[in-house]
Symmetry: C2
Subunit: 243 residues, 2 copies
């Protein structure tokens, strides 16, 4: 695709679709999962809530890079967990023209994710995933896909840690598992508080720090941390979580 200075248009002998990235940023507040949404300032779907994202640019080194850039424009983020979710390319998903989007999902520490003061008067807000507003485009589908992916992945990869501070307590981690997997009331297997730490410690990459979390009512829980090196070793052997 070449830029024509005279017409001020990009020209190509072949048809090219527009490409965007959209990110499902998930944060945990101790009780439930939340998604970060942006209120749209422009048509189409003006004033509706939508996922943060935008058009890919030639200078983006990759789609991942593009999604990361978009997030950095809206919040003070650095080194967050982000993975590709999939491509959404139905021909009618954007009323303007053919736009295919590459969706990503990110896990962040909600309390540390500071949304920048709206540069262009854009409003950003966290919504509990169980109480989503009406959403622009096919963004509801994208969020549902992200949640489904998260549910699947947490069985086999230790990604819950990305929703917590570096040092966390077992009850906190347990709450994340319950919030993501949403077990029925009669399920003791996952819900039983007493078995949870045993499972986690057995994996070999959740380590005690020796410290305790202070300032709570009631007994101070121990603080644990995630050992990346130990995880990489365990992964090679083919270790897997089970819930």
């Amino acid at each position: 695709m070449k830029y024509n200075k005279k017409t001020k248009l990009w020209e190509s002998p072949y048809w090219h679709p527009a490409v965007t990235t959209d990110s499902v940023v998930l944060g945990f507040d101790g009780k439930e999962l939340n998604v970060l949404l942006i209120r749209r300032g422009l048509e189409p779907y003006k004033n509706m809530w939508a996922l943060p994202g935008g058009f890919m640019r030639p200078e983006d080194k990759s789609a991942h890079d593009c999604a990361y850039r978009e997030l950095r424009e809206e919040a003070d983020v650095d080194d967050i967990y982000m993975d590709e979710l999939g491509v959404f390319s139905n021909h009618d998903r954007d009323p303007r023209e053919r736009v295919i989007t590459i969706a990503f999902f990110a896990l962040v520490v909600k309390s540390k994710y500071h949304v920048r003061g709206g540069d262009d008067a854009q409003e950003a807000k966290w919504f509990p995933v169980k109480e989503l507003p009406a959403l622009a485009f096919d963004h509801k589908t994208i969020i549902e896909t992200a949640l489904e992916r998260l549910r699947q992945r947490i069985h086999f990869e230790p990604i819950g840690f990305h929703l917590l501070d570096k040092e966390f307590t077992m009850p906190q981690l347990h709450n994340i598992y319950k919030a993501i997997l949403d077990p029925p009331d009669d399920d003791t297997k996952l819900s039983d508080r007493r078995n949870f730490p045993k499972k986690m410690l057995k994996l070999g990459y959740v380590k005690e720090t020796g410290k305790k979390m202070t300032g709570n009512r009631y007994r101070s829980p121990k603080l644990y941390t995630f050992d990346e090196d130990a995880y990489q070793k365990a992964k090679k052997i083919g270790m897997r979580l089970e819930f």
Copy 2:
């Protein structure tokens, strides 16, 4: 993006990348996994082997639809298992211009996958995944990603069936699991022939047909079939394979 009849060019005020799909078509021959490759007739990478695929067109209803169309142009296929693998969008992956590709992986019955007589003198050939030739673009990476995805997925989804006829024998299915997971010699857990049928039957969606496979040397093995309905029910309960 709009078509200008005068200049015969597609024009847009915004930059759009070129978008292709590429498919990793995997077939099983009873012993090992094979990938279908096409010898390129055009530059770049002329005469090198590459994945089947091509540019997305405005009439493609989705990326999946595009990938499917490309396969239908090259082989007599219908109703095959195909799923998105991911997006490959590094800016230097195509020497011509910025091209991002949406990769898919497909599982087919190799003996039933008839590659059409080369319309445009394109040569198509199966290669064992362990003996790949030099490949165009980043297609080697894409294939490796597909194999890794397959290894992961077969633990939790019954996709091995797509590599076999509707009616198959336990030893055949067992061979697929061994070929995909490539267990070390000392691993009896997966390798033990005697435990394999028990695991499969216990899942509840592999059913006996009552028939036997004839025409072999030695004892005729029983024929089984995959029960899609039973699988869908089991999936809801959250059943999982374990190897």
